[in-house]
């Protein structure tokens, strides 16, 4: 089937079997291997990308269902010369060991900070109507769909808090 995906502002015209997941379309058909395949069952979050600005597990979605959608992967967030604030913060705080989960962590955190900005509550929010804040507990809860096999969680949380604080300062 013919599918057009706009990945990081570039249009990709792909001919795909309906079984191809969005993850496999991104990696094997569009050739963008920054997005990782971990469990391939929606449990680890390594495949997290943003679709029309929202984070999803790309392994649990069919590419044919995303015809016309705008997808952002880790390659679209920053470049080695111009890192995104979260990419820079992960390096600053050493928010990884092996790095395999990192693209998913950073895509997830990028969208998660927007969810906080939009005032979405979480399971650990004391009230449903208060302002959402990027505290350690809130970040841990909101990032629970991204596993890190090396258990670099303390520094992942530190990176996200750093990027969130920098954005507050800039605002």
């Amino acid at each position: 089937m013919h599918v057009t995906l706009t990945i990081n502002d570039t249009k990709h015209h792909l001919e795909l079997d309906p079984r191809v997941t969005l993850l496999d379309a991104i990696r094997s058909h569009a050739g963008l291997t920054g997005t990782k395949k971990g469990c391939d069952h929606g449990q680890c979050g390594a495949c997290t990308v943003m679709v029309n600005g929202r984070r999803i597990n790309s392994c649990l979605s069919l590419a044919v269902m995303h015809d016309g959608d705008a997808i952002t992967t880790i390659e679209g967030l920053g470049t080695p010369e111009a890192l995104s604030p979260l990419q820079a913060a992960f390096i600053e705080t050493d928010g990884f060991q092996c790095g395999y989960c990192t693209p998913g962590q950073i895509c997830s955190a990028t969208a998660m900070l927007e969810e906080i900005r939009a005032g979405w509550p979480s399971h650990v929010s004391e009230t449903l109507d208060g302002p959402a804040l990027p505290t350690e507990a809130e970040i841990a809860e909101r990032m629970s769909g991204n596993l890190c096999r090396c258990s670099a969680y303390p520094n992942i949380i530190a990176a996200i808090r750093l990027a969130a604080a920098e954005r507050e300062d800039a605002a």
């Binding site: 069919l62 044919v64 399971h123």
Partner: protein, 329 residues
């Protein structure tokens, strides 16, 4: 994954017509269905994509709140009306899955998700739900997450949804569309089936029927609480959960609606438990009596025996919290 034909429906009428072909399944969020298809637990020959149909939106009506079947779990949890008047439902949604999954999973799909019984997922093992008549490997197997209420000798699976437990306590109804243009409304109380001899039949949905919306009656005052007990702090299914809507009047319990997750093949509710609480002055003895009534027929299968005392304690804790402001010291 087995091969399938993919059809993107342009309208509900078209989707319902396509669904009349045997072997067809609807797909919206796909977060559970695609996982099951990868494991070949489910292998529909045709997938009808309903994700772009006009079945979204959250609308306040005189009859209550109408939630379109395609509203993602994350949007529903964050909806201002819900947060204000039905916080129980927001809380239950936020207690389920992960941020990524809630962005994709829909209201209708959440209701229809399948059990996470390990043996249902493992195609090398017998499972009456997956393959009727093949047996149940959970009975006598490892059954830590399995049912203690309403199970049968054919199946002891539990329903995994948190959202459905809250909806059960809120007396929600489900609006269904049928091929040919029929439309009917089913109370959630009658939507799910117990396993009995037909564990492969989980709801009263007829072949080709589609969930169009979930309807909530107007919110009643009082406390709304969702408490979920699980093996880790986040991103895990409930071992036991309690959804409570409780209103006090003059030191007595005036209204109580309680639904339970993790205990049965469907969200569980007991008229006996609620009847025993209504009109009474809250006390530890009363909560204990409610636990007795809830668990009178409970049956453990070994690894899940712990759910019986856990359900009792969780119920008592939720009732104490709900009545806290007016409990005698």
């Amino acid at each position: 994954m087995r091969a399938f034909d993919y059809i993107r429906a342009g309208s509900c009428t078209e989707a319902l017509a396509e669904a009349e072909v045997p072997g067809t399944a609807f797909i919206a969020g796909g977060t559970n269905l695609l996982d099951l298809m990868k494991h070949e637990v489910m292998a529909p020959a045709r997938l009808v994509d309903i994700s772009r149909l006009d079945l979204g939106g959250i609308t306040l009506t005189e009859a209550g709140l109408r939630i379109g079947a395609l509203v993602p779990n994350s949007d529903l949890a964050a909806d201002p009306l819900l947060r204000r008047h039905w916080p129980l439902l927001s809380r239950a949604l936020l207690a389920g899955a992960s941020g990524q999954l809630r962005n994709k999973a829909t209201t209708g799909g959440n209701l229809l998700q399948r059990t996470r019984c390990y043996y249902f997922y493992d195609t090398a093992m017998p499972c009456n739900k997956r393959e009727p008549g093949s047996g149940c490997a959970a009975i006598g197997g490892f059954n830590r997450i399995h049912a203690i209420l309403g199970a049968s000798d054919q199946c002891i699976a539990t329903h995994p949804s948190d959202m459905a437990v809250a909806l059960r306590a809120l007396s929600a109804e489900v609006e269904l569309l049928a091929p040919g243009g029929g439309r009917r409304q089913v109370p959630l109380a009658q939507f799910y089936r117990l396993p009995g001899d037909t564990p492969h039949l989980e709801t009263v949905l007829e072949p080709g029927e589609m969930v169009a919306a979930v309807l909530l009656p107007p919110a009643e005052g009082g406390r709304q609480i969702y408490r979920k007990v699980r093996d880790r702090a986040s991103y895990a299914f409930a071992l036991v959960s309690v959804a409570a809507c409780l209103r006090m009047e003059g030191g007595r319990i005036a209204a109580a609606a309680l639904a339970f997750g993790g205990l049965a093949h469907m969200p569980w509710r007991s008229a006996d438990v609620e009847g025993a609480l209504i009109g009474e002055v809250p006390s530890a003895a009363l909560f204990d009596r409610a636990g007795d009534l809830l668990l009178a027929e409970a049956k453990g299968h070994g690894d899940n025996d712990f759910k019986i005392p856990l359900a009792r304690r969780t119920l008592a804790a939720v009732l104490a919290e709900a009545c806290a402001e007016e409990m005698p010291a």
